[in-house]
């Protein structure tokens, strides 16, 4: 059916994106291998979340191509874009559950919007998806009654409700306690393998990320600093990557924000 079942599900080719005064992604080319778990890492404000939004067509690149399964997302009109988005699931940083719907109805939402399935079937699918994230028992709770980690797992069940090909996670680990973090990491890996997904996640957690990701891409200054397996990335000779993967406070990314020199600010010349 698919005319070109290439190695990568998502591919960025010479992609540039920025706002009026600031370039976020500068001529970036990268690819996300099909069926694998890919991690996007890099300093805050480095354009990781922007890449997810570009893949989903919520932001449009100024130049270059962004191929999702061989089709360029950038010039798509709403109808085509919605067709492409149906094949993607996205997990937002804080879950973004619909506050006025129960956990069950949240997961049922995409099914009810996009399929004409009977309520009995919807119920079975929803409970299956909730079971996969370990929260079948929480189906009747309201979003206000669940913890942050649970909210994200529910949102994950909702994101995979329609069996997408690609799942994107925006900082799935931020602000989680160690147990929830381990659960989240295991879920990303297990869902990817059991459902035959392609996963992309944005993360700052070095240990968890290196443990579960097949492919790691580190962005810096709007470009890809390095990419490869965990071992390859750790061995990278790039000083910036070295600073990042070893979590050093000072390096190419300075500890001090650029400003006048210490002498100037503290007026040593005048004292002398």
């Amino acid at each position: 059916m698919a005319p070109h079942l290439s190695e990568s599900l998502v591919e960025l080719r010479n992609l540039t994106f920025g706002y009026a005064e600031r370039v976020i992604l500068d001529n970036v080319s990268l690819s996300v291998p099909r069926g694998k778990v890919t991690a996007l890492m890099g300093a805050s404000g480095g354009g990781k979340t922007t890449i997810l939004r570009l893949i989903g067509g919520q932001n449009r690149a100024q130049s270059g191509e962004l191929l999702f399964d061989g089709q360029d997302v950038t010039p798509m009109a709403q109808k085509e874009l919605y067709a492409a988005r149906r094949r993607m699931g996205m997990l937002f940083q804080f879950g973004a559950l619909f506050a006025d719907l129960s956990v069950f109805d949240n997961v049922a939402f995409p099914l009810r919007e996009h399929t004409g399935l009977s309520e009995a079937l919807v119920r079975d699918i929803v409970l299956m998806k909730l079971n996969a994230v370990g929260l079948r028992g929480a189906a009747q709770l309201m979003p206000s009654e669940v913890s942050g980690g649970m909210a994200r797992r529910i949102a994950l069940a909702r994101a995979v409700a329609l069996d997408p090909e690609l799942v994107m996670y925006d900082e799935p680990f931020s602000g989680l306690d160690p147990i929830s973090l381990a659960i989240a990491a295991r879920l990303i890996r297990e869902l990817n393998d059991s459902m035959g997904l392609t996963s992309i996640f944005v993360s700052h957690e070095l240990t968890e990320t290196f443990a579960i990701a097949d492919h790691i891409i580190i962005l810096a200054n709007g470009k890809v600093a390095t990419q490869g397996t965990a071992e390859e990335v750790k061995r990278s000779s790039d000083p910036l990557v070295y600073q990042y993967v070893n979590a050093l406070p000072d390096g190419p990314v300075r500890f001090h924000y650029p400003g006048p020199s210490v002498q100037e600010d503290f007026g040593r010349e005048q004292a002398a």
Partner: protein
């Protein structure tokens, strides 16, 4: 002191135009997506319940008190000319033609409009609008359009409740308390109120106000900055803009209705 600099004036004008363009586009998309919205009428029905039912108490009580006060004030003036039997007609015409639609719209903006703006704004702040877009569900069609039509449908109904309660208030003061003749009170209303000229124009007004108030509330929520401060500011803007728009539109509509 630089507000009169040509560049600043130009920027302000361009911003205003851009805002108007955004508003016009949203209204157009709301109208274009109405077909699917009406096919899933349960969504609209739930919102009519939410917007209409929950506004019912404030509308009914306000209507009653406006009628009570109107009964007293109207009697005070009319009895000077020995025509206190016309009290029913005075109260009814004022309510049906003017006060019913206008005061209902102002109260609706305060009660339902603010809750709409806050709801949409908070959905935006919580990324619920984005998540819906990512699920390939159009938030304008799924979230905004049902609320829009619910507001448009609820407004004339609420205005009718307001006016009815007002007439009852006028009757309580005029007939029950002061002792105006009950027969002439009601027969003057029957004879003097025209279905098309008076009631019809009142309904047209409240439908127009329904469109205006609900649309302003939705636009402010949808364009709100996705922060707590942004939502608070948007809620305030809804009340101010909707109230001024209702009063402005009311004058235009009344003037047109006198001419036609």
């Amino acid at each position: 002191m630089s507000w009169y600099k040509p560049a600043d004036v130009g920027l302000a004008v361009r911003r205003q135009l851009a805002d108007m363009g955004l508003g016009a586009r949203l209204l157009l998309r709301l109208l274009l997506t109405s077909g699917p919205t009406f096919r899933r009428f349960s969504l609209v029905r739930d919102q009519i319940h939410f917007l209409g039912n929950y506004s019912l108490v404030i509308i009914a009580v306000s209507g009653l008190f406006v009628g009570l006060v109107f009964g007293l004030q109207g009697y005070y003036t009319l009895q000077r000319y020995g025509s206190s039997e016309a009290l029913g007609l005075l109260v009814t015409l004022s309510l049906v033609r003017e006060l019913g639609p206008v005061v209902t719209a102002l109260l609706f903006a305060g009660r339902a409009g603010t809750s709409l703006t806050a709801e949409i704004g908070l959905m935006k702040a919580g990324e619920q609008i984005s998540v819906m877009e990512m699920m390939a569900v159009d938030p304008i069609q799924r979230v905004l359009a049902p609320r829009f039509w619910a507001g448009v449908i609820a407004m004339p109904l609420l205005a009718a409740v307001f006016s009815s309660m007002g007439v009852i208030g006028g009757w309580l003061v005029g007939v029950v308390m002061i002792g105006v003749d009950s027969g002439s009170f009601w027969s003057q209303i029957q004879g003097g109120v025209d279905v098309w000229q008076d009631v019809g124009n009142g309904i047209i007004k409240s439908v127009v106000f329904g469109v205006a108030v609900t649309f302003i509330a939705l636009l402010q929520g949808y364009e709100a900055q996705a922060t707590p401060e942004g939502v608070a500011a948007a809620t305030t803007r809804t009340v101010v803009l909707a109230s001024l728009t209702v009063l402005g539109l009311d004058f235009i509509l009344t003037a047109l209705m006198f001419v036609i």
